[in-house]
Symmetry: C2
Subunit: 194 residues, 2 copies
DNA sequence: TTCATTCTATACCGAACGGTATAACCTGTC
DNA sequence: GACAGGTTATACCGTTCGGTATAGAATGAA
């Protein structure tokens, strides 16, 4: 009774989904490692899929809100992109395992249940970033409808940085420094305008 | 009897692993869609894991050899990186589904069986690319031991291009043009030297 | 003809899967 | 003292999973 069981289950699910993948992680095991029985798990989450959905919602919602705010265009593409990348970096620092789980799901098989669950989240993320380029195009002249391509590329680049940081530095607290963010954005924009 | 059953099984496995993921794809279904019974599948591949291994070997080996050749340093970092990226592009054009399967596995959960299977392939790939930077450092001065980081970044960037191409153009024949490859390499090196 | 290879059909195995039913227990609130 | 929310233990459900046992049939080479 000390801690919130529901929260513990979510935390354990995050650990296992991250380490083994959604399909390979068993409900039984999640319950056991949470110090809880299976009926308790099903008392809070009506299915394994529901568990993943709730996990994505509870951890993803704050991230999406923060990112959405950071994506507000302030008449400066470079600055806005830095803010967006900074929001991702902040989040990845606070919740490294969840961030990496998102990456894995982002690249996972399209017909897999787990991908269906992240899809709405991914779409909102893409939409927010794309909006930056849409608004920038009003200021900077048309982008020939390549906003989508730009946003995909930018997201991919930020993800790449995350994974690299994780690969070289270990799991605890992925952080991208301010200088690195500016360099990344510079590199990205240089690519765009050349 | 007309076609090679073993090859058909590999092809079907590629399709299903790609579409649904390794864990979610069932052996039974692979056998059925190959027009073959389960014992036949097990006659060629002693386990599901063995099937994945053989798939990675049969499709991956030619790719790795081609890439290895392309990674031979010719006193010109820029040119060598273009050659390496070109080898990836060629391969992705010929075998788009396999290339995308590799990407998904590359980013998948570390403790998953499937990741264990790609690991040797990934290590060889990384090693070949890293070798480019090692040899270049002899010519261009030391890189402060950042060869690994550079190779990870370069690989990630090429992968990002693949996924973007796939996302925007559909699945049949991912191709990266010569100009795009040069731009990509330029962008990457600009990032390095700034 | 013999023989190995390739493959079939069918049927089964034990284990694990996701999920549920039942019935009782604790704890705090009203 | 009644009641609701949270939780337990236990046992079970049907299904699917990866994998196998058995016994035989087609094929082509020696």
């Amino acid at each position: 009774m000390p801690v919130d069981n529901r929260e513990r289950i979510l935390e354990t699910a995050l650990d296992l989904f991250y380490a083994r993948g959604y399909d390979a992680a068993g409900v039984q095991e999640i319950a056991e490692k949470s110090g809880v029985t299976k009926p308790t798990l099903y008392y809070y989450f009506k299915s394994k899929y529901g568990l993943l959905e709730q996990l994505l919602k509870s951890r993803g919602e704050p991230f999406l809100e923060q990112l959405h705010a950071a994506c507000a265009y302030r008449g400066d593409l470079r600055g806005t992109l830095c803010a967006a990348a900074g929001a991702v970096s902040d989040f990845a620092k606070r919740e490294p395992r969840f961030a990496l789980l998102l990456v894995a799901l982002f690249y996972s098989a399209r017909d897999n249940e787990a991908y269906q669950a992240v899809r709405p989240l991914v779409l909102r993320l893409q939409g927010d970033v794309e909006e930056i380029f849409n608004e920038a195009s009003a200021d900077l002249g048309n982008m020939n409808g390549r906003q989508r391509q730009f946003s995909l590329g930018f997201i991919g680049l930020v993800i790449l940085y995350l994974v690299m940081k994780h690969e070289t530095e270990g799991e605890k607290g992925i952080e991208i420094s301010g200088e690195e963010i500016e360099a990344l954005v510079h590199q990205f924009m240089h690519g765009i305008y050349s």
